[in-house]
Symmetry: C2
Subunit: 528 residues, 2 copies
């Protein structure tokens, strides 16, 4: 069979862009950090297609610039809350390294304590932000008068969710996380028997004890949601929303969920008709590198280059670890490009180039690139899949552990524990991923599957955003499940009714039988 | 906002067809009747794109021709079974009309008896067919040697399913029904709290008692599947398949499920990553009509034309009903084109043209067409949606009752009961659908939503069939749920374990407490 792989994506994409439509008016409520980096990819595409964008940002934002030719800005100054700036993240990293050194059992409880605290900190900041907006009558009036066609938000924290519900705007999510984990849990059936809970480090094939653990984690995360997150917003909901509005129903009301997931990466699981998968939408063919960087890449000869980055919010690791990494790098024949902040490691080899920032996507798509040393952030992982580059993973925070596990079970990555990393271990890991062809071959397979789709993920995202604007929502794709209380959804009321009915029927028949028997025996006695 | 509706489908379609790929070798196991009519649409598209098709048919087939330029043929002559030809269908229709006259309660049980009998008849015929194939060593060898890249089947009856599993071929379904109802039930979570069971005439918003009814129907259909269908194939599975192979696991093993569903029609419900929705794939822009038919259409003037068809397998209705229909037609100012077999009704008006066959899609897409009188077969309903023509429905068999209900709850159709139809009722129905603009406006809305997609349903079907050939399957989209026993899937084993653990822990602590208390009181007594 000679099936030419039909590279439709690029072609349909071109065509799609050319059949442009005009003048949508979109309100954007983004999250900060890497979430902002990736929502901008969608925003740029919408801008190119002639839509007007207005971004609402907090005055405390680290990433979202006040001035841009891409969007209009509304800056809101929420009251003081606990600072969630770079120092907070530094503390989180130190804590995460400390946790890695604990026993699994202790780690679980310490982690849950940390997650609970973190949820409180972030959701209180979100509450301040949305309260500040809704309490400002003039701002609300301005937003109403702007007559937006749609609100686009990353709903990790529900500022945009609540604002869309308040303004009654059609709502589209750019989403992966919601409340205590994977956003799917809020909208699609998620049996814990084969759907691993966020942060569990489990996959979709579990032993009986792992299923028990996953089940308990699932319950635990539902409790965290109901007992910690939901109450934070209850006073605000009472004050500004019609009676009976709940945070969860507001979250479930989105018209389209653009999910940053692709099933070459995530384990296959139930989904819903209004979920559109756009995992990897930020990936693009590599552009030419700056001249000096290209020269460095070429100087690697046949050995090629290792690319290393621990992402945007990860500052310097403890010195012992960076020294161990530098030592190992110095011993391999490859060249290394390392995105690095902080003091230069003393053991750095001549083969290693330190850069404060680099064009990661272009480096990963470079023909000399052999491997990617990564913390396992979603953006980087999808770029590695897109370009087919095997990964040596050093996960540090949040979803990074789960992300790299998904590559590991497909034998496309090897994972090391950062907290206890030695130079020897890291060197052994480097050599394994560089020399064992399994990693290369598996990530290439994933890359082929990932790229083979009738419409690129970014075009999908754009199509569905415009679909919602054209039809003023997508109510026909939203399921009735969201309108049922949980006990009705699971048929518990029906089961209770049927059980009661059966018991009453049984008791009645027993009673009737007894009555008949009694009469008979009375009659019999009388006859006797 | 000026959003031009982006008509991408036609454009991407052109492009898609032009970037053709060559030479896939596809084995097709179709169903007969209207299922054959619609799988041929996909086959023609695959043929145009250079794939070779081989069809396996029964020598008793009514529709599947022995000779065609579209496909090679393998004709199999299964042993005698109960005949499921036109006479059988005539009996089913008579029985269905009789059922409509019964009380709902009696009807339910009579219906279940009928369904049980029908399942036995059809599945025994399917068993004969697959047995004949697998018992014929020479034929099996021929099929093996042909080195097919993929088996495409309509799995309503599992001939293709079992053959694909036997030959270990990648498997793609063109599917809506499987075993006792909607095929989704075999692959995706289907809570009966908001997902109406096949033939229930319920929709996705149910009262408590309707949910109870639906729950019981759900259990009933599971029992029918386990107790009637599954045992029919057990001896064959033992004889020809590795130990442990079950019918249900074979059915769940398909790589891609091309589902003949669109959510402007079906109620939104959970789905899975390997389900691709192609509802309406057979619809096309209307072609020019034959000259005499076009003349008839134009002669209707401003009043327009009513189109009526009761589908391919429905022969003549009882005379009283056809006379009632003809009488009512004679009283409306519209012209009527009626697809009709049998004796000419005596009350037929001059405005009504009887035809044994007509180009239904082209008639429905004609600008003079005002309304469609239909039995509610899936193909016709999707054509009505595609062309935005309101429906007056006379459901008779199978899924037709559920199909027309889906248009009725969206106020795009009116439904009448055929068995007791009077001329007055039918006339009133005709006038209502013709004169109340609600029907027109709602079906046009559905039409707009249905046509607004980035890739046409037929192109989606073709893309995913070729995807499976390119990658020799789509294992990465198949969920682990299929590998779990039902009690593990629903966590019942985990719940039992946790309950047992809790009870033992409680009993142990009570015992220990008692022991301690006893000791204390003994000590106390001793001290006293």
């Amino acid at each position: 069979m000679d099936l030419r792989s039909t590279q439709l994506s690029a072609l349909t994409c071109l065509l799609f862009v050319s059949s442009c439509c005009h003048g949508g008016n979109i309100l954007v409520l983004p999250e900060d950090g890497s979430h902002w980096v990736n929502i901008q990819v969608i925003m740029r595409n919408l801008h190119t297609r002639g839509h007007s964008l207005t971004v609402v940002r907090s005055s405390k934002s680290w990433y979202i610039q006040e001035n841009s030719s891409l969007y209009n800005i509304v800056t809101v100054s929420p009251m003081e809350t606990e600072d969630v700036g770079p120092d907070y993240f530094k503390m989180l990293i130190e804590r995460s390294l400390a946790l890695q050194r604990m026993s699994p059992f202790v780690r679980f409880f310490e982690q849950q304590k940390d997650i609970t605290n973190m949820l409180k900190v972030f959701h209180n900041a979100a509450l301040q932000m949305i309260s500040t907006i809704l309490d400002d009558a003039a701002l609300v009036e301005r937003l109403r008068e702007a007559k937006f066609d749609l609100l686009l938000t990353d709903p990790a924290f529900p500022i945009g969710v609540l604002l869309a519900n308040f303004l009654q705007l059609p709502l589209v999510y750019n989403v992966r996380w919601l409340n205590t984990g994977d956003a799917h849990i809020q909208i699609a059936p998620s049996p814990p028997s084969y759907i691993p809970v966020y942060n569990s480090l489990l996959h979709d094939q579990m032993s009986f004890m792992q299923r028990t653990e996953n089940f308990l984690r699932h319950l635990f995360s539902l409790l965290q949601e109901r007992l910690i997150i939901v109450p934070i917003y209850s006073e605000l909901l009472e004050r500004h929303f019609p009676p009976g509005t709940s945070l969860l129903s507001a979250q479930q009301s989105a018209d389209i969920w653009l999910m940053r997931v692709d099933f070459v990466f995530e384990f296959p699981r139930p989904t819903m008709p209004n979920v559109v998968y756009i995992g990897g939408f930020q990936c693009q063919p590599a552009q030419a590198l700056p001249e000096d960087l290209e020269e460095f890449m070429q100087s690697s000869g046949e050995h090629g280059v290792v690319i290393m980055s621990l992402g945007a919010v990860v500052g310097a690791l403890p010195k012992t670890i960076t020294e161990a990494i530098a030592t190992a790098f110095a011993e391999i024949p490859q060249k290394v490009v390392w995105r690095y902040h902080g003091e230069r490691p003393s053991t750095l080899g001549n083969n290693t180039l330190l850069l404060e920032w680099f064009p990661q996507n272009d480096l990963l798509g470079h023909p000399k690139t052999r491997m990617f040393v990564s913390h396992g952030g979603t953006n980087g992982i999808y770029e590695a899949i897109y370009h087919g580059v095997p990964v040596l993973a050093l996960p540090i925070l949040f979803d990074q552990f789960d992300n790299v596990l998904r590559l590991q079970v497909r034998s496309a990555a090897r994972v090391l524990q950062v907290a206890t990393l030695t130079s020897q271990e890291f060197l052994e890991g480097l050599k394994d991923v560089l020399e064992n062809p399994m990693y290369q071959s598996n990530i290439r397979k994933l890359s082929k599957l990932h790229r083979d789709r009738p419409l690129s993920p970014l075009d999908s995202a754009t199509f569905w955003i415009e679909f919602v604007m054209r039809h003023k929502g997508a109510a026909h794709l939203r399921s009735e499940a969201n309108n049922l209380p949980w006990y009705s959804y699971h048929n518990l009321d029906v089961l209770a009714f049927l059980l009661a009915f059966t018991v009453i029927a049984l008791l009645t028949s027993v009673y009737v039988c007894k009555l008949l028997c009694c009469r008979k025996s009375i009659k019999k006695r009388k006859v006797d």
